[in-house]
């Protein structure tokens, strides 16, 4: 799948240390992001946000004239876009507070450059997925907007449960999703005892997306652990 359009997104980067700003800027530039505005304080960040209208903000928590949580609330009150915290504060309470306020991710320093770029790309993909709703598999395509599979030109509708399971797999495409996580995605907070139902749904999904359901190539079983969706380009 082509995600180059994501590299054009406007990113606001806020940290009180110039060296960190320089380094993150350099990491993002290297990954293809060039539309970046930096700020070293809350005041600067709010001014920049007004002019620049970012599509993603990366915020430090400890700023000279306030904290990142307050800044996030102000930014969110102006426009709704994804926010990622990049901070040295690694306490669980801080993370929970950030997520409670609606942060999309929380990275504790120190971090690997790749981890940062992977997470930014993931947030952007999730947040701006509407621009590319068709997911290409080996033998079919999934149109999540219309909740249907297109195989050999034929449109096959997905049931609600199949949709929930497939979207959970798609959000983690290329990675194993555990049986428990899939049951939770399909049956909510009390997903115990649905393992057999899950297997039945997986069989039906395979019939819809695979050319040969008994020899799946897109929806792979990882025995005892879970399933993996193989998506083109991932």
């Amino acid at each position: 799948m082509d995600f180059n359009y994501l590299k054009q997104k406007r990113i606001l980067l806020v940290d009180d240390e110039q060296e960190i700003l320089d380094m993150v800027l350099s990491i993002l530039n290297e990954d293809g992001f060039h539309n970046i505005q930096t700020a070293k304080s809350m005041k600067e960040a709010i001014l920049a946000a007004n002019k620049f209208v970012p599509e993603l903000a990366i915020l430090d928590i400890m700023l000279p004239d306030g904290d990142g949580f307050a800044l996030m609330e102000q930014l969110k009150s102006q426009a709704d876009y994804p926010i990622l915290f990049l901070t040295a504060r690694g306490e669980d309470e801080d993370k929970f507070r950030g997520f409670d306020l609606g942060a999309d991710d929380y990275i504790v320093k120190p971090f690997l450059p790749k981890e940062l770029t992977y997470r930014i790309n993931a947030i952007l993909r999730r947040s701006y997925k509407d621009e590319n709703p068709i997911v290409k598999l080996y033998n079919s395509e999934i149109d999540f907007d219309r909740a249907e599979v297109i195989k050999d030109g034929e449109h096959i509708a997905l049931t609600a449960k199949e949709y929930d399971i497939l979207i959970a797999l798609y959000h983690n495409a290329g990675h194993i999703v555990t049986i428990d996580a899939l049951c939770e995605a399909a049956w909510g907070d009390n997903p115990f005892g649905y393992q057999n139902s899950l297997m039945a749904h997986i069989c039906r999904i395979r019939e819809k997306i695979e050319k040969s359901p008994s020899q799946p190539v897109s929806l792979i079983t990882i025995k005892g652990l879970g399933y993996k969706l193989i998506v083109e380009g991932k």
Partner: protein, 461 residues
């Protein structure tokens, strides 16, 4: 306080036993004394013998020499009264002058049960009269009116029992009244001493008989509280210090990792230069992990990490950890085998999901770190006897029994207050133990059935 009723029971028991023993002892003593004293019929016998020894002759009466000697020995006088006249027809030589020689019937009745002029008298019946023996004034005491109401005698057993019971009750009441006050003053002391080991502050009213003890207990409590406060302060300061250092080191380490990461993937650099960047990056990562571990271990050690447990499915947690490891790619040398029985889908434990994930992750990472040549890692969850057991085993190089014994029983250098020269093992296993112990569980390190190392995490269901 549980010991006070026990104490009272014991005291009352001793009291009742002593009362009964005293009564029994008194009865025995009385029986022995009365056995020696009664029946004391010797004066009456002597009187009868005197009556027999008195011979009637022509000139009157004469007493045998033998009897006369005996009466003299006892300093006893004798008088013989004729039945018909009531007059004395014979008397011994030592008859005091104050003794009349003529007796009316009422005189006879009085002297029979009592005294004549203070002399205790005893009578013996002769053929035609009555022999009266008079003993010295202070030789006998006579009970003059030995008669009781018949019903009194009839009810005597019940009366004795009632009196005894009343006595016991009276003693008990006296005891309770006297001791209740003492027990009342002891109770706060006992409560205070019991509260001391639980680290609760003790504040007793410093008055009363035992006020000195109250004051001492209050002082002890104050000292303990102050020591605890100081210790807690020290521990908090230490944990905060570690948290502060680990926080401050994050930003500079970010720079090191950030630029090293960029250099590692910079195609303009030579392979050798990029390899150096890789080393910097890997070592920085190790530092990062060490800082995180140190911070968590210190917080767990000083109970500063809130556990906030919830009902969690251990099978799902362990499965997620295994999947996370497979997903990040642990290399071809390592294979993780999921050995949990397919029928076990849920195993609910009251736990903190993130901490349990951390513990299982640390164990899998340990197997990877200690088996550079690769190994198979076996992860399983089982549930039995109200316990959930998460096992992480490998078929790697393992450890000797001695090493396993040390890992199970020696304190980690971080929490050891003695010899710190010997660095026993990394923080990973310490954190696992701390996490499991904070969930009231048990960590068992042993030889794996697959030939390597195994750690079992036992959690109560």
């Amino acid at each position: 306080m549980k010991s006070v009723p026990k104490l009272i029971r014991r005291f009352v028991g001793i009291l009742l036993l002593s009362s009964i023993l005293i009564v029994v002892f008194n009865f025995i003593a009385l029986a022995i004394i009365t056995a020696y004293q009664s029946p004391n019929g010797s004066p009456w016998i002597t009187a009868d013998e005197t009556a027999e020894a008195l011979q009637s002759i022509e000139q009157g009466y004469v007493l045998s020499d033998e009897m006369t000697t005996e009466l003299h020995k006892e300093n006893t006088w004798a008088i013989y009264i004729d039945n018909a006249t009531g007059k004395s027809v014979w008397h011994s030589d030592n008859l005091p002058e104050s003794i009349p020689l003529e007796f009316t019937a009422s005189d006879i009745a009085n002297l029979t049960r009592g005294y004549i002029d203070g002399y205790p008298t005893f009578t013996g019946e002769a053929e035609d009269g009555l022999i009266i023996l008079g003993y010295p004034k202070d030789s006998y005491w006579k009970h003059m009116w030995p008669s009781w109401d018949y019903r009194f005698i009839e009810n005597l057993p019940q009366t004795i029992l009632a009196v005894l019971a009343a006595n016991v009750l009276l003693i008990f009441i006296i005891y309770m009244v006297v001791n209740t006050k003492l027990l009342k003053s002891i109770k706060p002391i006992a409560d205070g001493i019991q509260a001391l080991p639980t680290e609760q502050p003790v504040c007793l009213k410093e008055k009363g008989v035992l006020s000195e003890l109250y004051i001492k207990i209050n002082r002890t409590s104050e000292i303990l509280q102050s020591q605890n406060y100081q210790l807690r302060k020290k521990e908090t300061a230490r944990a905060n210090w570690i948290a502060g250092v680990s926080h401050d080191i994050r930003t500079p380490l970010s720079m090191v990792m950030g630029y090293a990461g960029q250099l590692e993937s910079d195609t303009h650099l030579s392979d050798e230069e990029r390899k150096k960047a890789t080393v910097i990056l890997r070592q920085s990562e190790r530092m990062k992990n060490l800082i995180n571990d140190l911070n968590l271990a210190s917080k767990l050690e000083y109970n500063m990490q809130p556990i906030k447990p919830k009902q969690e499915n251990m099978v799902a947690i362990a499965r997620q950890v295994v999947v996370d490891f497979i997903d990040i790619g642990i290399g071809d040398k390592y294979h993780i085998k999921w050995l949990t029985d397919n029928s076990l889908n849920t195993c609910i434990v009251n736990a903190n999901k993130d901490l349990i994930k951390r513990a299982i992750g640390n164990l899998i990472q340990n197997s990877i770190n200690h088996n550079k040549n690769g190994c198979k890692i076996f992860v399983s969850v089982t549930a039995d006897n109200n316990r959930c057991c998460i096992s992480v085993a490998d078929d790697g190089i393992g450890a000797t029994d001695e090493q396993i014994e040390k890992l199970n029983n020696s304190p980690h250098y971080m929490v050891c207050d003695e010899n710190t020269s010997e660095q026993r093992h990394g923080l990973g296993l310490l954190i696992v133990k701390q996490i499991i112990s904070s969930h009231n569980g048990e960590t068992i390190i042993e030889q794996s059935q697959y030939g390597g190392f195994e750690v079992k995490l036992i959690l109560p269901l």
